[in-house]
């Protein structure tokens, strides 16, 4: 939508409103980041007292000792694999659909059935399959499973983007006898490049929140999803390490937020014809 012309007070009010809303919305995360700088013993006694005592990095050190670094690394690996697999599967299928392949269209409809079946329903048979194939405790398998959740959404988004325009351009490129690399660089990337990045981001985010499969499939290599609940189990809950974990994962989250908002802006500008 083109930028509307507002009178001065309205746009200022809206700007103040959106910043207030954003501030309140992410306040729990910011509070956690601040509280993570408190001494672990003080947090254990009084987890709600966010500001007391001298700041310290003990919580982060304790988290690292508990394996937080490994959990983060494993989560990043799983998410990256999920993003790559989602793109590898969705791009060709979307291209096929845009060329009116009826089989691919049926397949994309079938993919919607993924959302009928909750992952908690599937986790047990999947575990069975994974054990039979000696693929248990595998981050790659978890990444592939996570990709299945984002695949239908990815195909839907790409279909919209890789529609007639891309199809026509591909036909022109074929007539001009451009090579695959030239077609990829001059046609595919400019038309669907932003959507590809957006899908990768979404697949990444969905994968690193994956819980049901991780619970059963992973045992020695934990991800954040199942490692963090270990901090709040038993008689003594390790609040300091949990809050340190929230503060740390906020950093890649901020980076992702930056990527996603830039992509959205680019998409909006593109659609505005800018």
């Amino acid at each position: 939508m083109s930028r509307p012309q507002h009178h001065f007070p309205t746009s200022v009010i809206l700007r103040i409103a959106i910043w207030l809303i954003a501030g309140v919305w992410c306040a729990p995360i910011l509070l956690a980041a601040v509280a993570a700088l408190r001494a672990p013993k003080r947090l254990a006694m009084n987890p709600g007292d966010i500001l007391g005592g001298e700041p310290t990095f003990e919580s982060f050190i304790a988290l690292q000792r508990s394996g937080g670094g490994d959990w983060l690394r494993n989560s990043l690996i799983v998410s990256a694999i999920a993003a790559i697999v989602t793109l590898l599967c969705s791009l060709p299928l979307a291209a096929d659909i845009s060329r009116k392949s009826p089989i691919s269209r049926r397949l994309s409809d079938l993919l919607m059935l993924t959302y009928v079946v909750p992952t908690s329903f599937l986790s047990f048979p999947v575990l069975y399959l994974a054990v039979i194939l000696s693929l248990r405790d595998s981050l790659v398998v978890l990444g592939i499973l996570s990709a299945a959740t984002s695949l239908p959404l990815a195909v839907m988004v790409l279909q919209a983007q890789a529609g007639t325009a891309a199809g026509q351009l591909m036909d022109i490129a074929a007539l001009e006898r451009l090579s695959l690399a030239q077609r990829t660089w001059h046609v595919i990337i400019p038309t669907v490049g932003h959507s590809v990045l957006a899908i990768a981001a979404i697949a990444f985010v969905l994968a690193w929140s994956e819980y049901a499969y991780s619970l059963l499939l992973l045992s020695s290599r934990l991800t954040l999803s199942i490692g963090l609940p270990h901090l709040l189990s038993g008689d003594v809950w390790r609040w300091s390490e949990l809050l340190a974990a929230v503060a740390i994962v906020g950093l890649p989250a901020l980076f992702l937020a930056d990527v996603v908002t830039r992509l959205v802006n680019l998409l909006r500008l593109r659609q505005a014809g800018v």
Binding site: M1, I18, W25, G48, L113, S120, P125, M156, L224, V264
Partner: protein, 295 residues
């Protein structure tokens, strides 16, 4: 030069990865799970003969009927709230100018952090005694806060609040991006005609956003109905089973009791009549969009 596009009846083998992914991760496991439901599958034992007793067991289980009501209520309340707030936020973001992008980054944080971290963060906020909320209430009012997670209503609305907090930014982002579908020339015409921004929002923007809203509603409903992680981590289905959803009851019966996997999966299957309409809606909208693009 307009190039005539030929319809191709051939199918490219490059779709094989998608097919394999769907087969191995969804179709085959779902078939196995359905097999468990229609046979007397119990943990540690081979599959027995065809039977429907699992379905009658599921229907007779008092926790199941209560969980079904809770799941439906949870999904409807969450979806309506998320979409209303998300749509409103998208409107504010559209009219807020350059500030929108920076504020959007902050807004997205709850959606972007891992689900477990978000759930446990809320446990920290609501923990009784001495969580953040309790500490705040004590310092302001001088007495402890009510134990929100210890009351049925408090626990339910906490889960709703969490779900809305976590997922609304994503939907706001989707609506914000989709507002670009509105043709600029139509907006310009309305502006020149002297209509207010609010009128444009109510008519033009709403009309063009409707398919996106419907798709998002359907996806959100399915995901929220099958929500498991937040219930497991924040309330564990309590207090006294008041926040048990179908997914959590099924996990409880299938795994915690350690015996009745068939009945657990039956419970999930019995929710299909509720989930299928939402997925069918997705199908229909996706098809119409595809048809609109191709013609």
């Amino acid at each position: 030069m307009i190039v005539q596009r030929r319809a191709r009846a051939t199918w490219s083998a490059t779709s094989i990865p998608a097919i394999l992914l769907f087969l191995l991760t969804v179709a085959v496991p779902a078939s196995v799970a359905v097999l468990y439901a229609f046979t007397g599958k119990r943990l540690g034992e081979p599959v027995a003969g065809f039977t429907l007793t699992n379905f009658s067991s599921a229907l007779r289980e008092p926790l199941f009927t209560a969980a079904l009501r809770t799941s439906l209520r949870f999904a409807v309340v969450c979806v309506v709230t998320k979409l209303a707030i998300g749509y409103g936020l998208a409107g504010i973001l559209t009219h807020a100018g350059r500030s929108a992008t920076a504020a959007l980054r902050l807004l997205l944080l709850p959606w972007l952090i891992p689900g477990s971290a978000a759930c446990l963060l809320w446990v920290w906020l609501l923990y009784q005694p001495s969580g953040v909320l309790d500490h705040l209430v004590r310092s302001v009012l001088g007495h402890p806060s009510r134990d929100i997670l210890g009351s049925a209503d408090g626990a339910f609305w906490s889960l709703v609040a969490f779900n809305v907090w976590r997922e609304t930014p994503f939907w706001a982002l989707v609506f914000f991006a989709s507002r670009k579908l509105v043709p600029p020339q139509l907006q310009e015409e309305l502006r020149l005609a002297g209509t207010s921004t609010w009128f444009a929002e109510r008519t033009l923007v709403a009309a063009y956003s409707a398919p996106t809203v419907l798709v998002c509603s359907a996806i959100s409903f399915v995901w929220t109905f099958g929500e498991f992680q937040s219930i497991e981590l924040i309330t564990r289905g309590g207090p006294s089973n008041h926040t048990q959803t179908v997914a959590s009851v099924a996990m409880d019966i299938g795994y915690a009791a350690g015996i009745d996997l068939g009945t657990a999966i039956c419970m999930m299957l019995l929710t299909l009549p509720i989930i299928l309409p939402a997925v069918l809606l997705l199908f229909v909208i996706a098809k119409r969009r595809r048809a609109a693009l191709i013609t």
